[in-house]
């Protein structure tokens, strides 16, 4: 970056703003403190407190919430502790589903982004605009519409039956496949847009150079294009994976809420009968830790992808 900010006739930009840098940062820091740091700190503290019956906490240190997450003491809580698989299963189900949705979005999103970025400059904006149109509508409404579309006596099945493609209606609603479709549909643009931004900046003369050097199309894609747009791909994957992990609309409305997902498990601790706030906080902290680890891995991958410049 050395010299990147230097402009003729003035000092580096960083020096120009030096006297007011910290005052100008105050609003941003305040927002982060109030809306990010404080809630997370509160969650951390609550996860180590004693549960009050029917919601609330008693200000006494307790590891009960974490104990409940990791140890199974039977239906009546008096058996010797075994490893508790319930919550690990719930977390694993959510991670698996979010991972699959990310993969699906990548498979569809990458070619889409590539297609848009290779259109003539004046039509690209229209394509991007088209991608975002469905997202002007609230997520809840879109998920309910999806439900309507997929149901047994819905338009999709009716059409396929009328065309003679199917003899029996497809059972899509209340299946994991429907949840997958819902997540994929909800978060696809978060994959397309960062990849598009990366591909648009890509210098296509590199591809031409690769072709001149007898690289096959596949080799060009794999060894020239992909490394160059990797930051966009990683950003897209994070943007799809993280919200999918906490999604509860698609599992509830399309999957039938038969099994807890991370989001609904945590919600149940605050809004459900259980009213176990420390456990909800502990589950949130464990989720936060997992996401943080995933992000750290992704960032280090990205740093390697960008390489030394």
């Amino acid at each position: 970056m050395a010299g990147g900010g230097v402009q003729k006739g003035r000092g580096p930009v960083s020096e120009t703003y030096a006297p007011v840098r910290y005052p100008l940062l105050v609003p941003a820091w305040a927002v982060l403190l109030v809306f990010v740091a404080a809630p997370v700190a509160m969650m951390l503290v609550y996860s180590f407190l004693t549960k009050e019956f029917r919601g609330g906490v008693i200000w006494e240190f307790s590891l009960a919430a974490y104990d409940q997450f990791f140890f199974d003491r039977g239906l009546f809580g008096d058996e010797p502790p075994r490893i508790e698989w319930t919550y690990i299963t719930i977390f694993w189900r959510s991670i698996w589903q979010a991972g699959l949705a990310t993969l699906l979005s990548l498979l569809i999103g990458f070619p889409t982004a590539y297609f848009i970025a290779t259109r003539p400059k004046d039509t690209r904006a229209i394509w991007v605009f088209l991608i975002t149109i469905p997202y002007w509508v609230n997520l809840l409404i879109r998920t309910v519409s999806m439900r309507f579309l997929l149901r047994e006596q819905g338009p999709l099945n009716d059409t396929l039956l009328a065309l003679g493609v199917l003899d029996e209606p497809l059972r899509l609603i209340n299946t994991n496949l429907a949840v997958q479709l819902g997540l994929f549909y909800s978060y696809l643009p978060f994959m397309v847009l960062p990849i598009y931004a990366a591909v648009e900046r890509y210098n296509f003369t590199y591809s031409e150079a690769a072709a001149d050097l007898y690289a096959t199309k596949w080799a060009t894609l794999r060894r020239v294009v992909l490394p160059a747009v990797k930051p966009g791909v990683i950003a897209g994957c994070i943007l799809v994976f993280v919200p999918s992990l906490g999604a509860f609309l698609a599992p509830d409305l399309l999957g039938g809420a038969k099994n807890f997902m991370i989001g609904s498990l945590i919600e149940e601790q605050f809004k459900g009968n259980a009213g176990n706030w420390p456990f909800g906080a502990a589950a949130s902290m464990i989720l936060l830790t997992l996401v943080l680890i995933a992000l750290l891995v992704a960032t280090s991958l990205q740093r390697r992808a960008e390489g030394p410049r």
Partner: protein
């Protein structure tokens, strides 16, 4: 005098918020009270009404516990939640003689188990929770809890349950004929095992869409509230509400006076307003539920008197309120629910 009153109402209506004689902050279920009734209250008393809504008793409790107590004047918890809130010390006491219309409460509801003597609450609406079956899909006997927990072949995989621990577990207890707050280990294990097996036949857990899944045909049987089922029948005639011989869940929503109510006087006026037969009948006509007052017959939609969803057939089991268990017992039921949904 009449002229004066009319003028006062007109004035109250025209000057609106700026010169209101008071405020009332209401915490209420969603889609339940008709807006016209709130407008009428404002017109009669000059009190401005602000309403926030919730979608479950537990959500309301959580919100009040998280610091919203002191924001609202009245809330509308269900029977067992009134008992819980009394136990938590979240309700204010209504003094003797504070409510002029208290005498309108129907004799059958004179002394409810959840708030003996109506010291903190007044009756609002009541009804039942059971299930409905699309009789086009299944034409056998539907008045048995086997429909949910041991379904006939036609209904397997087409059952929607309410996503609500209290109602599902209460219904399951009725099915097994065990008490709702059992401490008998064999009974609890049997309950746990029965639910695990029954879940195989269920399509979904959905409360908000309980009516819609039946009307659309996504489910052919589903747990539902009586008023919701009546609305479902208007859209699809084959949806029939069941009063199982094993019994069904009865609920009653009640208007409570919250502790630290910022506008206590307005709250009392509002409660008195809802204790007038004509006003509470307006809620019943809108929500299709029963109310707990005498003398409402002349104001009610005549269709309500013969509503199949509100009038159990001879031979139906008894209705039971959801019971409030102690902490240790509740922990086992919470565990059973988690097992069911893991």
């Amino acid at each position: 005098m009449k002229f004066l009153t009319t003028t006062a109402i007109t004035l109250a209506m025209t000057v609106g918020a700026a010169q209101a004689e008071g405020e009332l902050v209401l915490y209420h279920w969603f889609e339940y009270i008709p807006q016209e009734l709130l407008d009428k209250f404002t017109a009669e008393t000059g009190i401005n009404v602000t309403m926030d809504t919730y979608d479950s008793n537990e959500a309301m409790l959580a919100s009040l516990k998280a610091g919203a107590l002191g924001t609202y004047d009245v809330a509308v918890p269900g029977d067992y939640m009134v008992e819980i809130m009394i136990g938590e010390g979240m309700l204010d006491t209504i003094g003797d003689g504070e409510l002029a219309n208290k005498g309108n409460i129907a004799p059958q509801w004179a002394n409810p188990s959840f708030d003996p003597g109506w010291k903190h609450s007044i009756p609002y609406q009541w009804g039942s929770t059971s299930f409905s079956v699309d009789t086009d899909t299944y034409s056998g006997d539907i008045n048995t809890t086997d429909i949910l927990f041991n379904p006939p072949e036609e209904l397997k995989g087409k059952i929607n349950m309410l996503d609500s621990q209290g109602e599902v577990l209460a219904m399951a207890s009725l099915h097994l004929g065990i008490p709702q707050c059992s401490t008998d280990r064999e009974q609890l294990k049997a309950l746990n095992n029965m639910l695990q097996a029954a879940k195989e036949n269920w399509a979904s857990f959905n409360s908000d869409t309980a009516k819609e899944v039946l009307v659309s045909g996504d489910a052919a049987a589903g747990m539902i509230y009586d008023g919701f089922s009546a609305k479902a029948r208007e859209e699809k005639a084959s949806i029939t509400y069941a009063f199982p011989t094993q019994g069904y869940v009865v609920w009653m929503d009640n208007v409570v006076l919250l502790k630290d109510a910022p506008n206590r006087d307005s709250a009392i006026k509002f409660m008195d307003f809802l204790l007038e037969p004509e006003n509470i009948a307006a809620v019943s006509n809108f929500a299709r539920y029963g109310n707990g007052l005498s003398g409402t017959a002349e104001f009610l939609d005549p269709a309500l008197a013969t509503l199949p969803e509100a009038n159990p057939q001879p031979g139906a089991g008894a209705g039971a309120f959801i019971q409030v268990c102690d902490e240790a017992t509740q922990a086992v039921y919470d565990q059973i629910w988690t097992n069911l949904k893991k």
